[in-house]
């Protein structure tokens, strides 16, 4: 009985994850510049992947330990990858969208390639 309930919760989590992947895809297509696209795709795909892995871990209860290990690993690395990519995009001189209202970025490691001080 309890296994059946866990199974259906797991299936529901898998569907939620898949729907978040599709939302991330829509965001990646509609957003105007690379930074906003990164926001849309990173958040939704990380959450979707964690949700699918947890769902499979609940469907097959013996797998839950390794599923949690993978979830912790993803929670630690996916945002780091996104930050590295955003900084690389900024440093390689990709312009911000024209609707951007504020730019306070003045870190010494954030200088674009063009403007040597």
């Amino acid at each position: 009985m309890i296994a059946l309930i866990l199974y259906y919760i797991g299936v529901a989590l898998c569907f939620i994850g898949a729907i978040f992947f599709i939302l991330g895809g829509i965001g990646l297509i509609r957003m105007p510049d690379v930074y906003n696209r990164m926001q849309a795709s990173t958040k939704t795909t990380t959450m979707g992947l964690m949700s699918i892995i947890l769902g499979v871990g609940l469907m097959e209860p013996y797998w839950i330990i390794k599923a949690i290990v993978i979830i912790i690993f993803i929670a630690l690395t996916a945002p780091v990858g996104a930050s590295a990519m955003a900084r690389a995009a900024y440093k390689s001189g990709i312009p911000l969208w024209e609707g951007t209202v504020l730019n306070e970025c003045d870190a010494p490691s954030c200088k674009k390639e063009g403007d040597k001080q």
Partner: protein
Amino acid sequence: MPSNSGASSYAFVAVISFITWIALIFSPGMSMVAFEQEVFVGLLVALTVAALTYKYLPNASVKYFSPKRLGYLTVYVFVFIWEMIKANVNMAIIVTSPKLPLKPGIVKIKTDLKDNFAKLLLGNSITLTPGTMTMEVSDDTLYIHWVKICDDIKEAGDIIKGAFEKWLKGVFS
């Protein structure tokens, strides 16, 4: 902190390595004998790894195993999960609304955290919470790309860091 003794960080690294080893080798159909052998090898590996690496992790210490800090860490994990769900619903609303309600900008905020791992956790939490993404961390300043910037920049730090910094201070103070 230099006040930390080497033995303390050695013990911390060994325990964390051993837990990671057990979590990685565990598989459902394992016999008891195989599991005992793996635990024995795991002990050897954990002690060796700790002996090789404890010098490079001077901030690691067994004080992080105290119940108070683990309690703060648990609360932090639940706050993080809740904020992540909120962030994704928020992003889904932004993405599916017919006119994209965007007002992006890069702000910089200060943090009080000193420990490097605490800053990593704060940056990760900020990336996975509503509409914000860490672009760069240098010393105590974080540069944040924000999808929908608030009206008053003075309050940006409090809005972005939210409840995270409080709990992380509890863990890493």
